[in-house]
C-alpha cells in the first residue's frame, strides 16, 4: 500500500500531465480553427482538452464540496447547452458576449474566494489575484451590457459630460482599494466587497456609452481581457493550464481585436473613448442623378446570360432571412455555367466573419466566398454585381469624398462592375445615414422589394429564361 503522501504525489503528477495535454490540445485546436478546411476538427480537439482537464480536476487532493461542484456544473453547463443550441445565427455575437462575460465572472469569483479566505501567499500572488479580479469583473459587467445592447434590451447609449473623467476616477479608486487589499493593509471583508463592487460598476460605465455598431470590437476586447484574467488567476492557483490557455487567448484576442478595428476603419482607443458608433452623422454630400428602377425579369435575363456575377450581401439580407433564396438563385446560375462569387466586406453582418457564418448556414460553400482584398480587382471583369441589403460598404464616397464620415473606410468596388443591381426595400439612406452615390450611377439599377421576395422573383425569372 502506498502511503498517502505518495498517493497525492502521483495524483499531482497525473493532474499536471493532463493539464499539459490539455494545453497542447487547445493550441493545436486553435491552430486548426484558423483554416476553413480543418476548423471543424479544431473545436473537437479543444473540446476534448477541456473534458480531460475537467475530469482530472476532480482528483485534486483535499477537495471538498463535490456535490456543490457537480450541481454548479450541471446547472451552468445545462443552461448554456440549451441556450447555445437554440440561438439563431444572426444573434451569435451577443451570445459570445454572454458566455465570455461568464468566464470573466468566474475569474473574478476565484479571486474573491482567495481574497476573502485571506491566507496570504505573498504580495505577488495577492496582487495578481486583485488585478485578475478587477479585469474579470470589468469583463463580466461590460459583456452583460454588450449583450443587452445587441439583443436590443438596452437601446440608449448613456452619455454625460465628464464621463471619461468619472470612469478614470472609478478606476483610480478601484486600484487604491485593490492595492489596500493586495498589500494586506485593509484586507477586511468590507474593503474587498467595495473593491469588487467598484470593478463591476466600472465595467458598466465603460461600456454603456459605446454604440451598438462598435460592440463587436468591444466584445473581442473583453474576450481578450477575460483570457488575461484567467491567466492571472492561474498564477494565483499555480495552475499551468489556466496560465497557458488564458495567455494564449489574451494575446490572440488582442490581435483579433486590432484586426477587427482595422477592418472597421476604427482604432481600439477610438471605440472605447470617443462614444461614436451609433450617432449617425448628419447626411452630407448632395448626390446628383436619379434612381433608376428595374424589373426582376430583366435582371433575371441579364444574370442568366452573364459570364460572371458577384453578389454583395449585407446584414439586411440576413435580417430578411433571404440567404437561402439567394443560394438557390446562385445554384441556378452555376448550373448555367455562370461564375458566381460572394464578396464579403469585413464588417458585413454584426462582426467580421459573421456574414460568412450566415451564408454557410444556407449551404454556400466557403470557396465561393471571397473577402475584400481578394475580390476587389475582380469587379472590373464582372458583368453584374448584385447588392443585397448592403449599403455603406459599397458607397464610393468612402474613396473620394473627404467630408464624408465614412471617408477612408475600405469598400467593395461594386461600382466598377458593368452592371450594378441593388435590391433594396425602399429609398432610405444606410445605417450611417449617408446617401449612397453608387445608387445614382449610370450603370446602377434598383430592384425594390424585400430581399426574400426579390430573390424568389429572380429565381422565377431565370427559370423562365430556360
Amino acid at each position: 500500500m502506498p502511503s498517502d503522501a505518495t498517493m497525492s504525489l502521483d495524483r499531482e503528477t497525473l493532474i499536471q500531465a493532463s493539464y499539459l495535454v490539455t494545453a497542447a490540445l487547445f493550441i493545436l485546436g486553435l491552430k486548426r480553427m484558423s483554416s476553413p478546411v480543418t476548423a471543424r476538427s479544431g473545436i473537437l480537439w479543444a473540446g476534448s482538452g477541456m473534458l480531460v482537464a475537467t475530469v482530472v480536476s476532480f482528483l485534486y487532493p483535499g477537495m471538498t464540496n463535490y456535490e456543490l461542484i457537480l450541481a454548479a456544473i450541471v446547472v451552468g453547463g445545462g443552461l448554456a447547452w440549451w441556450s447555445g443550441k437554440r440561438v439563431a445565427m444572426t444573434d451569435m455575437p451577443q451570445m459570445i458576449a454572454l458566455y465570455n462575460g461568464m468566464g470573466g465572472g468566474a475569474a473574478a469569483a476565484i479571486a474573491a474566494v482567495e481574497l476573502y479566505r485571506g491566507e496570504s501567499q505573498g504580495y505577488a500572488t495577492s496582487t495578481l489575484a486583485v488585478v485578475g479580479g478587477l479585469i474579470g469583473s470589468v469583463s463580466f459587467s461590460g459583456s452583460a451590457i454588450a449583450f443587452g445592447k445587441l439583443q436590443g434590451l438596452i437601446t440608449r447609449s448613456i452619455r454625460f459630460s465628464g464621463q471619461q473623467v468619472f470612469n478614470l476616477l472609478l478606476l483610480a479608486l478601484a486600484l487604491v482599494l485593490g492595492a489596500l487589499v493586495a498589500f494586506g493593509f485593509g484586507a477586511t471583508a468590507p474593503v474587498i466587497t467595495a473593491f469588487f463592487a467598484l470593478a463591476l460598476l466600472l465595467g458598466l460605465t465603460m461600456t454603456l456609452p459605446i454604440g451598438g455598431a462598435d460592440m463587436p470590437v468591444v466584445i473581442s476586447l473583453y474576450n481578450a481581457l477575460t483570457g488575461l484574467a484567467v491567466a492571472f488567476e492561474g498564477f494565483v492557483l499555480n495552475n499551468a493550464a489556466m496560465i497557458i490557455a488564458g495567455t494564449v487567448v489574451g494575446s490572440a484576442g488582442t490581435l483579433l481585436t486590432q484586426l477587427m478595428a482595422k477592418a472597421m476603419n476604427r482604432s481600439v482607443g477610438n471605440v472605447l473613448f470617443s462614444g461614436f458608433g451609433d450617432t449617425g452623422a448628419a447626411p452630407t454630400g448632395e448626390v446628383s442623378g436619379s434612381l433608376k428602377p428595374i424589373e426582376a425579369s430583366d435582371v433575371g435575363v441579364m444574370m442568366a446570360f452573364a459570364s460572371k456575377v458577384i453578389i454583395v450581401p449585407g446584414y439586411g439580407m440576413a435580417v430578411a432571412q433571404a440567404q437561402h433564396k439567394i443560394w438557390e438563385l446562385c445554384q441556378l446560375l452555376l448550373d448555367r455555367g455562370v461564375t458566381v462569387k460572394f464578396a464579403i466586406h469585413p464588417v458585413a453582418g454584426r462582426m467580421p466573419g459573421h456574414m460568412n457564418v450566415l451564408l454557410a448556414e444556407a449551404g454556400v460553400p466557403y470557396d465561393l466566398i471571397s473577402d475584400l482584398d481578394e475580390i476587389n480587382s475582380e469587379f472590373e471583369t464582372a458583368d453584374a454585381a448584385l447588392i443585397i441589403g448592403a449599403n455603406d460598404v459599397v458607397n464610393p464616397v468612402a474613396r473620394n469624398d473627404k467630408s464624408s464620415p465614412i471617408y477612408g473606410m475600405p469598400i467593395l468596388n461594386a461600382d466598377k462592375a458593368k452592371n450594378v443591381i441593388v435590391i433594396k426595400r425602399g429609398k432610405g439612406a444606410g445605417f450611417s445615414g449617408i446617401e449612397n452615390a453608387l445608387f445614382y450611377l449610370d450603370n446602377t439599377r434598383m430592384l425594390y422589394g424585400d430581399a426574400q421576395k426579390a430573390g424568389a422573383e429572380l429565381i422565377q425569372a431565370i427559370k423562365a429564361v430556360g
Binding site: 485534486y60 447547452w81 488564458g246 483579433l256 457564418v357
Partner: protein, 103 residues
C-alpha cells in the same frame, strides 16, 4: 512553479497565441473569437479548485457562482463554436443546406 518559470510560460504562451492567429482569414474571425472564448472556459478547473477548498458559507456561495459561470462559459462556448464551424463546407458538398437553418 517558481515566479520566473511562470513568467517564462506567460511569455511563450503570449507569443504562441499571436502566432496562431496572425494569418487567419477574415471569414473565420467570428468562429475563431468564439473558439478562443471557449478556450478561456478553462477557468472552470480553477473555479472547481476554489469551490473545492471553500469553507465558510460566503466562500462556498461565491465558489458555487464561479463554477456555475465557468461551466456556462465552457459549454456555451463549445456549443456555439461547433454549430458555426459544422456549417463550413467546400464546393464538394454543394446543394445540401443544413436542416437547422431551413426555416
Amino acid at each position: 512553479m517558481t515566479g520566473i518559470v511562470a513568467l517564462y510560460i506567460f511569455m511563450l504562451a503570449a507569443f504562441t497565441g499571436y502566432e496562431v492567429i496572425s494569418r487567419v482569414p477574415v471569414i473565420l474571425h467570428t468562429p475563431l473569437m468564439s473558439g478562443s472564448n471557449f478556450v478561456h472556459g478553462i477557468v472552470l478547473v480553477g473555479a472547481m479548485v476554489a469551490l473545492g477548498g471553500a469553507h465558510t458559507p460566503l466562500e462556498k456561495t461565491i465558489g458555487f457562482i464561479g463554477v456555475l459561470l465557468a461551466a456556462g462559459n465552457a459549454v456555451g462556448g463549445y456549443v456555439v463554436t461547433e454549430r458555426m464551424l459544422e456549417m463550413f463546407k467546400s464546393s464538394g458538398a454543394r446543394g445540401k443546406p443544413t436542416q437547422k437553418g431551413a426555416h
